[in-house]
């Protein structure tokens, strides 16, 4: 608890630097990454992330210092170069984009590792800590880094705000953007540059290997919760920022824990959570909808059964045993009992000792299902020219989903018929 208060009071300047750095990096990467995500360029984000490593190493070799300005410059150069290579390979050969991306990613990363190893064995004392670019170490952010990184973050966020309309259009419909005379190539170039910059400042915190997650995951998670682009981008920024704080906090209370991987862990948990829990699009809500449909089908089928048995005996309110129900409909006892119990609660059935009886409301609901079934069979045979022996299975499903409006249209279209194709009465 003490550590929590100590951390969130931000009294320690180191904590301030690390938190501010992580939040800015994560949020700006998420904002720029939203458009990378929408343009379906997730892989090229990964390629850039890996391709900045040789740039960082080269900048160190040439300048001999870990001055963030030089390192950013080097990272930017090779990150950019990788995208130019990918574009050219795709344009000038038969190699497709995914292959070209994979190719460039591994070649650049390989060269980066090569240079890094060479530097580490060169005996240059200043090199210690350069390997942090592999997996990142937000905890090593210091004041001077922060100035460089936060100014780039601000530039990134401002550019996206300024070009929001334009980026939206080229992500949605590039040809239309060209047709109305927008400088599409220039805008693409700008977006690419912003992506590279986001990667360049992000690697300090999470490293080249995990950087793609910082770009794409917040947007992917946010997309589950909203259909509005603005909301999605803002939400992605918050998801990124929140993960940044969590990562910094975790590595603060457990100094052995790396910040970057924890930021990505938190991001992933939020994304997986969204995947399961988001309304409508989430797995959970789709599962619940399925279950609701299954219950509705079971209940309506049971009421239909009661009604049809009543039709046969000319006594709709006769009490029925569990066994007589199962004879007609081979559900398991457990399933039938569950359905009956629900219908009892809903007031469509009554229980008489070990037997069950329709209420009046239950009778009319069962009657409606039977009516819809027979109307639909008649519709298929009369209007759609489907053979009478092929319509039953269709009607078994359709009877549960027809709305009162469609019901009225059906009745009218068929002229309130008396019997279905199998000469059963259609009850009104």
């Amino acid at each position: 608890m003490d550590s929590l208060i100590e951390f969130f009071s931000f009294s320690d300047p180191n904590i301030r630097y690390v938190v501010a750095g992580s939040v800015l990096l994560a949020a700006s990467a998420a904002i720029v990454g939203s458009f990378t995500f929408l343009k379906k360029k997730a892989l090229s984000g990964d390629a850039v992330a890996h391709s900045v490593l040789p740039g960082v190493c080269l900048a160190f070799i040439l300048s001999g210092t870990k001055n963030p300005f030089y390192l950013v410059l080097g990272a930017f150069a090779t990150g950019w170069l990788s995208l130019v290579f990918i574009d050219n390979i795709v344009a000038r050969s038969k190699i497709k984009e995914d292959t070209a991306t994979g190719l460039i990613l591994s070649v650049f990363f390989g060269v980066g590792i090569l240079l890094l190893t060479a530097i580490q064995h060169s005996g240059n004392a200043a090199q210690s800590g350069l390997d942090q670019f592999l997996f990142g170490k937000a905890a090593s952010l210091v004041g001077s880094d922060l100035i460089v990184f936060s100014s780039i973050s601000v530039i990134l966020i401002a550019s996206v705000i300024l070009f929001f309309k334009e980026f939206t259009l080229i992500a949605f419909d590039e040809n239309f953007a060209k047709a109305i005379g927008f400088p599409v190539r220039g805008l693409e170039l700008l977006l690419t540059t912003l992506t590279v910059l986001a990667v360049v400042i992000g690697i300090q915190a999470v490293g080249v290997v995990l950087m793609a997650a910082m770009l794409i995951t917040p947007a992917a998670a946010a997309r589950f919760w909203t259909d509005k682009l603005r909301v999605m981008v803002i939400l992605a920024a918050f998801i990124g920022a929140f993960s940044g704080i969590c990562g910094a906090y975790i590595s603060y209370i457990a100094p052995a824990m790396p910040t970057g991987p924890w930021i990505v862990m938190v991001l992933s948990i939020l994304a997986i959570g969204s995947f399961f829990l988001a309304p409508r699009k989430g797995i959970m809500s789709r599962y619940l909808l399925q279950r609701k449909n299954q219950n509705q089908i079971l209940e309506e089928n049971l009421l239909k059964l009661f009604y049809k048995m009543g039709e046969k005996d000319q006594d709709y309110l006769k009490e029925r045993s569990l066994k007589s129900i199962q004879e007609k409909r081979p559900y398991s006892f457990r399933k039938i009992k569950r359905g009956l119990q629900r219908l009892l609660q809903q007031g469509f059935l009554e229980r008489k000792k070990d037997k069950w009886q329709l209420t009046l409301a239950g009778k009319s609901k069962g009657q409606r299902v039977v009516k819809l079934h027979r109307l639909w069979e008649l519709y298929l045979t009369e209007k759609m020219n489907i053979a009478p022996d092929h319509v039953h299975d269709d009607a078994e499903t359709i009877e549960h989903i027809i709305t009162p409006e469609i019901e009225r249209k059906l009745e009218k279209k068929l002229g309130y018929p008396k019997t279905d194709p199998h000469q059963s009465d259609i009850p009104y």
Binding site: K40, L169, F172, N175, F182, P183, T226
Partner: protein, 265 residues
Amino acid sequence: MTKKADNDIIEVHDVTVTYNKKPVLWGIDLHLPKGALIGVIGPNGAGKSTLIKSIMGLVPLSSGAVKLFNQPLEKVRKKVSYVPQRESVDWDFPASALDVVLMGRFGKLGLFKRPRKADKEVAMNSLRKVGMEGFAHRQISQLSGGQQQRVFLARALAQEAELYFMDEPFAGVDAATEKAIIALLREMSDKGKTVVVVHHDLQTAQSYFDWVVLLNMRLIASGPIEETFKPELLQQTYGGKLTLLAEVGELLQKEEFPSREKDNE
């Protein structure tokens, strides 16, 4: 049979377009009249979409030039509207119908400026014209194919252009939508707008258009419907046999030959 329109608004001069070195349009010459409802008709792979893309500057020309309103496209963009094929975009994009229609205002707004109240009203009016005002705030992935096509049409209307190019606006739409769209296009052409529509259904073409461009990699005919909709011309357009043109095209691609010799290279 190629008739020159007197009051031409679109001039296509000797346009050849190649994809991967393979020519898909050969030496097209066209003059299309102002205020007409024009159908571009031909079989699959005839280059219909490519023709309007080349007019809109969306594909590079191997040769030739295009003039609209007697000027290069760059000078008249604000008077020209383009409706891409519906399948060319991802409808799962996080946007509402109104958001998409508002994009029709972006050309007039230019860079940086945000849509103003007036733009939103134009967009709403455009949605109303295509009968979609009730769906303005609906997420576009929840619209049916026909409704999505109407949204694209509304976006074009929001451009308030003089000249409209539409790529297969009837593809995958229901009969009622098709009827509504053609009525709207007719109304636009009655008001003096020029509408060029890529279409592949011969059955309906005759009743829809007043000028027809018959295309099958090369121009077969261009002229008023009563002069161009003749069996022998249609036979030439849709005739099943592979022409020598297609065969030579394949050869150019295989040998990586340029479709035109370039003197100063």
